[in-house]
């Protein structure tokens, strides 16, 4: 039992140490790139899950914040010479402030309406970047100065930055889950009206959760722009980024700290490997189809995600898929 608990507490730290050592052994190449993007998606998925998993509000707007983060960091670098590694967290804060503003409006809506509002935000942000040609370069995009590092080592700082982002995401998610804020968000997901009747300030909770959630997207977007040394409206606002976050969270298990991390660590490497294997003219389309199939399969056969399904299986054998009301009560009626 004690060993089990020690293992459960120790494995994330062991994993972290391992990942810290990887660039020392292999400072370049496909696998480092793969890990870096996996960290990025994992961090953003954990961020997305604060809103989508804990509070139950599915956002399609995270890529909007990712894109705006990319542009903000690029402009700060190009016009003011501020290095992205310095501005990325601040760009994240800008995303959070914008997120709070958008949340103030959009979180008055629920369900599909909220999804549509966040999707609309993404397209508006994309159009804005496309149309503000004098500032953003329009469809031509912006080129960012290269980092002053040997070409084969350029990835290393990004690798550590994305790893740091993931560590922060997990720590924030754990802190939220263990706090009254986290309990309130889950209560909102379960029954928002009841949560309000229980004294939870649902508007404040949702706006705060959304602001925290998009910080990771904004910060990741900033780092991503510098890594590619380029940003344009198609690249920065690619809807597939948000879809990836959703699929990763669903696949791993929504509303569980490690769910999105697990989802990202499975889905992203598989996606990258698929793209690597396929001829380039097919890779994009086949990858999209594969993601669509994964989404459908997860929703149909693994709606609770891997971790929850495993937990249920370990506790009670196969998952009871009947509605709660139809299951036998575990305890006889009191009285």
């Amino acid at each position: 039992m004690r060993i089990d608990r020690r293992w459960r507490r120790g494995w994330p730290w062991a994993g972290l140490v391992l990942f810290l050592l990887v660039p020392l052994v292999q400072p370049e190449g496909f696998y480092l790139d793969l890990l870096m993007f996996t960290f990025m998606y994992a961090a953003m998925s954990v961020g997305w899950d604060i809103m989508g998993g804990y509070a139950g509000y599915v956002s399609l707007g995270h890529v909007g914040f990712f894109g705006l983060g990319s542009y903000a960091a690029a402009l700060l670098l190009v016009h003011l010479g501020l290095p992205v590694f310095l501005t990325a967290p601040l760009v994240g804060v800008m995303a959070s402030i914008l997120g709070a503003g958008l949340g103030f409006i959009s979180l008055r809506t629920r369900g599909p309406a909220f999804v549509i509002v966040t999707l609309t935000f993404t397209y508006v942000a994309q159009l804005l970047m496309l149309d503000l040609k004098s500032v953003t370069g329009g469809s031509k995009g912006l080129f960012l100065p290269l980092l002053d590092l040997p070409a084969n080592l350029v990835i290393v700082p990004f690798y550590y930055a994305m790893l740091a982002l993931l560590v922060i995401a997990v720590l924030v998610s754990v802190a939220i889950r263990r706090s009254k804020f986290g309990l309130g968000l889950i209560a909102i997901r379960e029954d928002e009206g009841k949560a309000e009747a229980s004294g939870v300030n649902t508007s404040l909770y949702k706006i705060l959760a959304f602001a925290i959630s998009v910080w990771f997207a904004g910060t990741a977007g900033a780092l991503h722009a510098q890594y590619l040394n380029y940003v344009d409206p198609d690249l920065a606002f690619e809807l597939i980024i948000t879809l990836n976050l959703i699929i990763m969270s669903l696949f791993g298990s929504r509303g569980i700290v490690w769910g999105p991390v697990l989802g990202a660590f499975i889905i992203y490497p598989l996606s990258a490997y698929l793209i690597f294997l396929l001829p380039s003219r097919l890779a994009g389309q086949v990858h999209l189809v594969a993601l669509g199939i994964v989404l459908v399969l997860v929703v149909m056969f693994l709606p609770d995600g891997l971790i929850r399904s495993y937990q249920a299986w370990r506790r009670k054998g196969p998952i009871d898929r009947r509605p709660v009301e139809a299951r036998a009560s575990i305890v006889e009626a009191a009285g």
């Binding site: 009254k180 309990l183 379960e190 009206g193 709660v324 009191a334």
Partner: protein, 244 residues
């Protein structure tokens, strides 16, 4: 100023349907007041107005000195008014203990990020669960409890907010006679401790043995008020239940 609930000339309609019209009533602090009336008479709408779920189109509602009109449900809870729902509402995928912790009053942003369940909160929750005889279920998912247990959990959780006035919407609905007796005893004990109750109920046996005064609503307004015996003998009440 005592914590009386005073409702004056409240009106609420939905489209062309008038749910409340010139509705006035008073719930004295320390009482167990019943609110009865035929289906559709406006009882639950009144509950929803008082607790901030609906905003009345006119009228005044006060709890002690505080004006209730325009407040959000969470703000009403913080004034000391808690409620349960006609159809039991609990957080089914949260544990019984977590259900108990959610209604704890949050003070400002700082407390948001304090521990989910603190020691003294757990102790208070355990005491209440013990009081209602469901402490042994503390770590179970609330959705797996039986119907009666869910009712008790909803009631116990409402008490975590330490309300001065507890509004119960059909608390005895669907409960067996043994559970109803237990519920009656709980309400009496809590009332003896100073808590005020406003109870909507169709089970007349439950109402008549527990509540005084009894208020009767019909077509969106209060048509009678008095002791259970007086209300039972009131021709207007008989008319409301048996008439057109």
């Amino acid at each position: 100023m005592t914590d009386d609930l005073a409702i004056h000339s409240v009106a609420k309609s939905f489209g062309g349907i008038t749910a409340l019209s010139d509705c006035s009533l008073e719930v004295r602090a320390g009482s167990i007041t019943a609110l009865i009336g035929p289906n559709g008479s406006g009882k639950t709408t009144l509950f929803n107005c008082v607790t901030g779920f609906y905003r009345p189109e006119q009228g005044d509602m006060r709890f002690g000195d505080a004006v209730l009109v325009g407040l959000r449900p969470n703000e009403v809870v913080h004034l000391g008014i808690a409620r349960t729902f006609q159809v039991t509402r609990i957080f089914k995928n949260m544990t019984v203990l977590e259900n108990m912790i959610v209604p704890i009053r949050q003070l400002g942003l700082r407390t948001l990020f304090t521990a989910g369940i603190k020691g003294h909160e757990r102790q208070r929750a355990e005491e209440l669960l013990e009081f209602f005889g469901i402490a042994f279920l503390r770590d179970e998912l609330a959705g797996r409890l039986s119907f009666g247990q869910q009712k008790l959990l909803e009631l116990a959780a409402a008490l975590m907010a330490e309300p001065k006035l507890l509004m119960l919407d059909e608390p005895a609905g669907g409960l067996n006679p043994v559970m109803i007796d237990r519920l009656t005893a709980y309400i009496r004990e809590l009332n003896a401790g100073g808590m005020t109750f406003l109870i909507i109920e169709h089970n007349m046996g439950f109402v008549m043995q527990l509540c005084e005064p009894v208020l009767v609503m019909h077509r969106g307004r209060v048509i009678a008020r008095g002791t259970p015996d007086a209300v039972r003998a009131n021709p207007a009440v008989l008319d409301a239940y048996l008439g057109d």
